[in-house]
Amino acid sequence: METQTIKNEQNTAKVTERISGSEAIVRCLIAEETKIIYGYPGGAIMPVYDELFKYQDKIHHVLTRHEQGATHSAQGFARISGKVGVCIATSGPGATNLITGIADAQIDSTPMVCITGQVFSHLLGSDAFQETDIVGISTPVTKWNCQVTKASDIPTAIAKAFYIAKSGRPGPVLIDITKDAQLEEFDFSYEKCTRVRSYNPVPKTDASSLEAAAKLINEAKKPLIVWGQGVILSEAEEVFKAVIEKAGIPSAWTILGASAIPTSHPLNVGMVGMHGNYAPNKLTNECDVLIAIGMRFDDRVTGTLATYAKQAKVIHFEIDPAEIDKNVKTDVAVLGDAKASLELLLPLLKGNTHPEWRKEFADLYAIEYEKVIKDDIHPTKEGLTMGEVLHQINVQSKGNAAIVSDVGQHQMIACRYAEFNKTKSNITSGGLGTMGFGLPAAIGAKMAAPDREVVSISGDGGYQMTIQELGTIFQQKAAVKVVVLNNDFLGMVRQWQQLFFDKRYASTEMMNPNFVAIAEGYYIKAKKVTKREELADAVAEMMASKEAYFLEVCVEKEGNVFPMIPTGASVSDIRLE
């Protein structure tokens, strides 16, 4: 089927047509099977919008309320679908407003193509109206970028952009196109890019490294796997599950790795990192072989490197050679695509079950359950907890919803307690920690997967950073379920102030608006919950709604997220209280 499609395109590619650069941009997007793009019009991109108007039956343009929202929507789209997210903006402020989302996509390896309009090429460098050096500004946060000043360069630039964004370790690409290039006519043809001379997206997997890895794993008494988003990006979920099941290895996830295998899987031992689970953090410093798969040893995962897994042999499955030995020294590096590598690894593994070692995880989980989890999800004291809200969402979703979180306490709670049956279901800003990510990302996710339940979970702080995207929900009739866990604080910063700054709550208390009135102002059904006895019904009503629904839950003001590895501490020093 796929070969067929490519063949057809090659045939049509031979025929050229005289069209404008702006029409070519839209035709290129159609050739790349883009059906939805997110953006905001303006002077320097108007010719493209004119073409989008003509091609609206082929490409649906989503008018966000801010260009940042367009990037996060494109990210949400990409994260739930595995396809390239596309956004479009004008020059100057339109382009600079994309930067936060681009930086977020770069650090979280999200495939995204951004197209920006630029002033006429004869005005470049003259400080023209709405001129900004977006190629210069975006360089450190893009996988690749370029400026196009001639219409005839548009097809190759866009083809290259899609190829680079999606291949290897994915990332954001920006193409800046001058207005004269958009207006100029040329002989158009389009060919997909399959190769860039200087670019080697997937390094060759060395058979001897796989054998060395298999030997270490087969001989290990206490192996631990930590997997990251690489498993999801390479769509390795099935073979990954086969590997851990055959070798009987307890497996923990980084925040972006969540949902690659079901939460309920018996070998899934939870999240690593600062607010991860007790057992996998503690036992990182007990294991004899640490197997990292498609993850990058972020500082939020490792705590201080000086005492991170020093006793263990480290195996690192990784597509990006620059990640090898960047933070943690590896004994065996297996370069390549996670899916391909794991398929080669599987037959080399011996069957194992490691019952005693797995019992250590179960024992530590029992401690965490008693000290933290029980009171988080089944609280008895006054004041609603974020954890019980997540629990109610789980009850209603039965683990089938995609959870899109923002950044802060609620994010940690959401990632800790949300139950996932399906992959690509945990969408959050992991690396950059972008407050304001959640709501627009949920819109993008819902539009990419309209059949899936998409629940946006935000705090009262981050929600207000992109609250205007309620307008997009209204206009697009995107049936996103929007939950705000309101504690009238910037909760995570407040928690740090409590623990490390003697409760000096500098600028973390929020005086909040009437959130229900705001949602209703956008004609979105809305409800506010302040009491425990109202919660279950309210969540059920929200989840049953066929259209968008806003639910504000007023949670305890000074709740804290535990466990916690304080900054600079060892994973062994994880605190339960």
Binding site: P140, K143, C146, V196, R197, S198, Y199, D325, K326
Partner: protein, 176 residues
């Protein structure tokens, strides 16, 4: 050993594209690595540029930098070498008042002994060119500066490696 700082050349083969210098220099800037010298020129392969960047850093860190550089889409390959592994030269230009040639006879001896080349002479000034190791160019500068130098410019280091660079065959493997 690898935790001691020393001078390394970072040689980068790249596509000849606008903006790549920015992309590469940002990698150094972000990590507070001072670039001692930088030279960009065509390489032995048509259409391929070569950067020679000199940095003072540890081997561990220079390895990480190489990884970050090679990750850039338009970089074909990057290498690092210490100064023992390369043949290198830098070049200095000195503009000096012509009258000094007659007023300060030692200058003629300095020129002779340093093996510097006179590029041009006119009635107002003459220009000396000295190629060699950085120390040799600096030594000449120190000798001449006593008499007064009108202008002095030193080039970035350029180098070739003692080992073979297999860029052409690498490019072929990428194409297959």
């Amino acid at each position: 050993m690898s935790t001691e700082k020393q001078l390394y050349t970072v040689s980068i083969y790249t596509e000849n594209n606008i903006g790549l210098l920015n992309r590469i220099s940002a990698i150094f800037q972000r990590r507070h690595i001072n670039i001692e010298s930088l030279n960009i020129s065509p390489s032995e392969i048509e259409g391929v540029s070569k950067f020679i960047i000199v940095v003072d850093m540890t081997e561990d860190n220079v390895k990480k930098i190489i990884g970050q550089i090679e990750k850039q889409v338009e970089v074909i390959k990057a290498y690092y070498h210490n100064l023992d592994e390369i043949i290198y030269q830098i070049s200095g230009l000195f503009k000096i008042k012509s009258e000094l040639l007659f007023e300060e006879p030692q200058i003629q001896n300095i020129i002779k002994e340093s093996h510097a080349r006179i590029v041009t002479v006119n009635k107002d000034f003459f220009v000396l060119e000295k190629s060699g190791k950085k120390e040799e160019v600096v030594a000449l500068y120190n000798q001449l500066s006593v008499f007064g130098i009108m202008q002095y410019t030193r080039s970035g280091l350029i180098s070739v490696t003692k080992e073979e660079m297999k860029i052409s065959s690498l490019l072929e493997t990428y194409n297959n």
